[in-house]
């Protein structure tokens, strides 16, 4: 039944790192004591509601706010004309020749997506604010809309921003086009596929919310916010609101999930702040679920064509990719980085591919802005890689596991430079594949698959050997690529005179268990008991600088900052201990918190006593300041690259299109695990979101730009019965780039799962000649695929009997029915 947790008093001081200690976050969360943003009340607090465009694209000819203004309890009603702030939401990542249309806090003349803000109301009560919002009258002139990224850049498409007629935000490429063309010209075999990676809606269970309070006496603006990165919010909001950073106090209290959607700076947050300053009242805004559907930055939205070139033996020689990436109506905070540097750079997957070329066109559409959603660019890349690899194996008539093995970057080739700009730090891909194959009983399964087919039952086995890039870094490189912020992390370790510790980190957890894992790191470094260590994050006044939690950066970058600060504390404490023990520093040994003189272990001092001495400061070595606390700004040398193999085993009923899981195995290598239970939990959650994308989820706009999946009734957030029990295991390949050797796990499951499932379903449907179905693989889509399959004309079961006849024009088909 998975990994067993232990309580903190069962922790052994020597193995605090690597122990599955229960989370210290949980007591507040399971008793209702936790404080989420919407729980916050302030005396005299007012409430804000936002009127949003009901149309996907419309000119706003007039707004009549008079009825709203007259309502009892309404404090103010504001439109774009009333806002006296710089008034533009900034883009946090600038590509060369990126086109950045103005993103106003409220739409003035044109609403460009359904949900675009048009006016705000501030009122005494939440319900009054809602009533008044509904009383505002808007005169719209509807315009044609475009929501598909490929159609958006075609001639004659409706124009989203008047001055950008081709709807193109950027046209970006990576890799060597000529070399890649050569590879295809000389290829013995090729495979190709057209695929979409559908728009997703993040659906954190806690809707976004803001409580803003302005204090005229100190000119300080205090903002409680559903944020994954309060410091980044501070930086961006400072510019938008024209409030200096040191007067902006941002707090992320308990945050009910983010998955990327709470990284970005949204107009609503700035509006709540502006309203607080304007009215002199604390102002709260909380999104309804409808608003989260319409306005939380969506994820993915790619339309791609991918090709693979291989030689006679099935060794990959090249890969070519063309992608249209939907950006929505405006560029959200990190949006330009997602389909470019976070996507194109991972197209080599786990494979040694000599030549890759990728071209991405970013398209404006009449949809909600698209930005990082769990995985951000990497799931799009690995979905494509693992689909085309599976089709390559099929083209070669090879077993998909063996095809992967043959093309893996070999164990002795690390660090490995890919043709798409990144250098993998460390890796060893075969053991993870082998473990996963063994866990599902691969060879037996293939036999059973063949037997079941005889009976007209369709079992499918889907492999996904994924790679992930976490802990985006270093800052210098990020700057060269267009980031408008550094990607270091700060950590402060303060040992109190009592010997207890408070450690502060600039990351900001929202369910990942940082308070637990960070305390494990600091305890291990200092040799101070875990229970004596407290972790603080998520408050810009407590810790002055930071970058936040996204891209699975917290352990690798934040954890390393805390480890580095702890090491500095030990260095200083060592000097004090040496002095007080009357020994030279070189003779002092440090183990489990104890400083002792080499060869004379009875002469020793615990670091907690050194702390007391450091504040007493009666007997300090020369030149050493009193006190015991250290800060570091850790800037990693490189990304870290976790990897693994997931395998989904499904049975598909071609009569109904139903898919049933028989097994799901995840073998992940995230480096050394600080807390294996928390790692397991992250994998479970990530896989669930990946399965959600594979089978259920998808944001759909109609041709007018109306979101037809605008509620939980229309957009499937997977329920308990949708997600199978999964088996997790791991291999451990440390990263050489950080002091802990850790990689990252938050997004691994989401990156790995979609193609494991799609590969499994298409594997099951090989007898019908079905090589690809676009996600989500709803029953209807699967059923339609079977019915429309070339071999279905003769009836599906006959197709099975004759071993899976293939249509001649199937580009990547093989006569043998692929690997089976």
């Amino acid at each position: 039944m998975g990994i067993e947790t232990i309580t903190s008093d069962e922790l052994d001081v020597e193995s605090v790192l690597g122990s599955a200690v229960e989370r210290r976050e949980d007591p507040a969360l399971i008793t209702g004591e936790a404080e989420y943003t919407d729980d916050i009340q302030r005396p005299n607090m007012a409430h804000m509601a936002v009127l949003r465009s009901q149309y996907g694209h419309a000119r706003i000819d007039g707004i009549d706010t008079s009825a709203a203004e007259e309502m009892d309890g309404v404090i103010g009603v504001y439109t774009a004309d009333d806002l006296d702030v710089p008034g533009e939401i900034p883009v946090g990542w600038l590509l060369d020749s990126l086109r950045t249309p103005v993103h106003p806090l409220l739409a003035g003349d044109v609403a460009r997506y359904q949900g675009d803000g048009i006016a705000v109301v501030v009122a005494e009560e939440r319900s009054i604010a809602g009533d008044a919002r509904d009383a505002i009258e808007v005169e719209y002139e509807r315009l044609d809309a475009v929501t598909d990224p490929k159609e958006a850049v075609e001639d004659g498409a409706p124009v989203v921003h008047d001055d950008l007629e081709d709807n193109t935000a950027f046209d970006w490429e990576i890799g060597d086009a000529d070399e890649t063309d050569d590879a295809f010209a000389n290829a013995a075999h090729t495979a190709e596929v057209d695929l979409t990676n559908q728009r997703l809606i993040p659906n954190a269970m806690e809707p976004r919310a803001t409580v803003a309070e302005y204090k005229p006496g100190t000119e300080e603006l205090e903002v409680h916010l559903t944020s994954q990165n309060p410091h980044l919010h501070r930086q961006l909001m400072s510019g938008v609101l024209d409030v200096p950073e040191h007067k902006l106090h941002i707090v992320a209290p308990d945050v009910g999930g983010g998955f990327g959607s709470k990284i970005h700076h949204y107009p609503d947050e700035a509006l709540a702040c502006w309203c607080a300053m304007e009215t002199g009242r604390p102002v709260k805004w909380t999104a309804t679920r409808t608003e989260t559907y319409l306005t939380d930055a969506h994820g993915r939205d790619h339309v791609s064509h991918a090709e693979l070139a291989m030689d006679e033996e099935g060794t990959i020689t090249g890969m070519r990719v063309k992608t249209y990436a939907g950006m929505g109506a405006y560029l959200s905070t990190f949006a330009p980085a997602v389909p470019t540097y976070l996507y194109g750079t991972l197209l080599s997957g786990q494979y040694d591919i000599p030549a890759i070329h990728c071209n991405v066109v970013g398209a404006f559409t009449n949809g909600a802005p698209v930005d990082a959603y769990r995985g951000a660019g990497r799931p799009e890349a690995l979905y494509l890689v693992e689909r085309i690899i599976t089709l390559g194996a099929r083209e070669m008539g090879m077993d998909p596991a063996e095809f992967r093995r043959q093309n893996f970057v070999p164990e002795d080739d690390f660090p490995h430079q890919t043709p798409v700009a990144v250098e993998y730090d460390s890796g060893n891909y075969e053991p993870a594949l082998d473990k996963a194959l063994e866990a599902v009983g691969y060879d037996d399964l293939r036999e059973r698959q063949a037997e079941l087919r005889e009976e007209g039952r369709y079992l499918g086995i889907g492999l996904s050997s994924y790679i992930e890039a976490c802990g985006l870094a270093p800052s210098e490189l990020a700057g060269q690529l267009g980031a408008q912020a550094g990607l270091w992390e700060s950590g402060l370790v303060r040992v109190h005179p009592t010997g207890k510790v408070t450690a502060f980190c600039g990351t900001s957890g929202h369910g990942q268990g940082h308070e637990t894992t960070y305390a494990q790191i600091v305890s291990d470094e200092l040799g101070i008991p875990y229970d004596d260590i407290e972790i603080v994050e998520g408050d810009t006044d407590e810790i002055p600088q930071g970058m936040g939690t996204y891209g699975s950066r917290s352990a690798a970058v934040g954890g390393s900052a805390l480890a580095t600060s702890s090491q500095k504390v030990v260095e200083k404490a060592k000097k004090i201990a040496a002095h007080q023990l009357e020994a030279s520093e070189e003779d002092i040994e440090f183990s489990n918190g104890e400083f002792s003189v080499a060869g004379a272990p009875e002469r020793s001092m615990h670091i907690q006593d050194v702390a007391a001495q450091s504040y007493l400061a009666h007997d300090m070595p020369e030149g050493i300041e009193p006190g015991l606390e250290e800060t570091s700004f850790y800037d990693p040398d490189n990304f870290v690259f976790p990897f693994g193999t997931h395998i989904a085993v499904v049975e598909v009923d071609p009569e109904t299109g139903e898919i049933e899981f028989e097994n799901y195995v995840a073998v992940d290598d995230v480096g050394p695990q600080i807390n294996p239970k928390i790692v397991e939990g992250q994998v479970h959650g990530g896989v669930a979101q990946g399965i959600g994308q594979a089978l259920y989820e998808g944001a759909e706009y109609d041709s007018n730009g109306t979101l037809v999946t605008g509620s939980m009734q229309d957009y499937v957030v997977p329920k308990a019965e949708h997600i199978p029990r999964m088996e997790t295991d791991s291999t451990v390949t440390p990263s050489p780039h950080n002091p802990l050797g850790v990689k990252g796990v938050g997004e691994a499951g989401t990156i790995a799962a979609p193609q494991a499932v799609v590969n499994a379903v298409t594997d099951a449907l090989q007898p019908f000649g079905i090589d690809h179905i676009d996600m989500p693989l709803t029953n209807e889509r699967v059923w339609r695929a079977v019915n429309d399959a070339p071999s279905a004309e003769d009836g599906g079961s006959e197709a099975v009997a004759d071993g899976g006849e293939r249509a001649e024009d199937e580009p990547s088909g093989s006569d043998e029915g692929g690997e089976n």
Binding site: D38, P207, Q512
Partner: protein, 170 residues
């Protein structure tokens, strides 16, 4: 807006309050009475974040008017722990890592307790079915199922010891 004087007992404490006709139970609990442990995820009866017990049964407090709860006993997450000791369901969620952000957790625990009262020894399928109205975006559900199983075992043990009602099972 018509106002109503109502009385509800929350976790055994009597409250008298005046609410609008349209005030939802969840808003009365959170905004009027300060029981903010109950969360709001959708206000449309689909996510289960707002699940509380009404006279012993799990209900979604976002689609119940406060006036409908007049004269009733309401159980919320704040009432689960008894004298500082966790209810089995709370213990289960902590031990089995059944939560990450914790936003769905109060509702999830109350739905699970309702199941355990009706069916003290549910199998995995019954658990998954019983919590189908409670969405969790973080955990992938497996550890939630394990948490409920843990609580069932714990409660069975307590019952076998003959010590009567386990703590906080309301």
């Amino acid at each position: 807006m018509t106002e109503h004087d109502i009385e509800i007992a929350v976790n055994g404490t009597e409250h008298e309050l005046t609410v609008d006709s349209r005030t939802l139970l969840v808003h009365a609990l959170r905004d009027e009475l300060g029981y903010t442990g109950t969360n709001i995820g959708c206000e449309s009866s689909t996510c289960g974040a707002c699940t509380v017990h009404l006279d012993g049964d799990a209900v979604k407090s976002c689609t119940l008017l406060a006036v409908q709860a007049d004269g009733s006993e309401v159980g919320t997450v704040e009432g689960l722990a008894d004298d500082g000791s966790y209810a089995p369901i709370q213990e289960g969620f902590q031990k089995e890592h059944g939560l990450q952000c914790g936003y769905c957790t109060p509702g999830m625990m109350l739905a699970a307790n309702d199941l355990l009262e009706r069916n003290p020894d549910p199998d995995e399928e019954e658990i998954r079915e019983a919590i189908e109205g409670n969405l969790c975006r973080c955990t992938g559900y497996q550890n939630i199922v394990n948490a409920v199983e843990f609580a069932a075992d714990e409660m069975a043990e307590v019952a076998a010891d003959g010590s009567g009602e386990p703590a906080g099972s309301d």
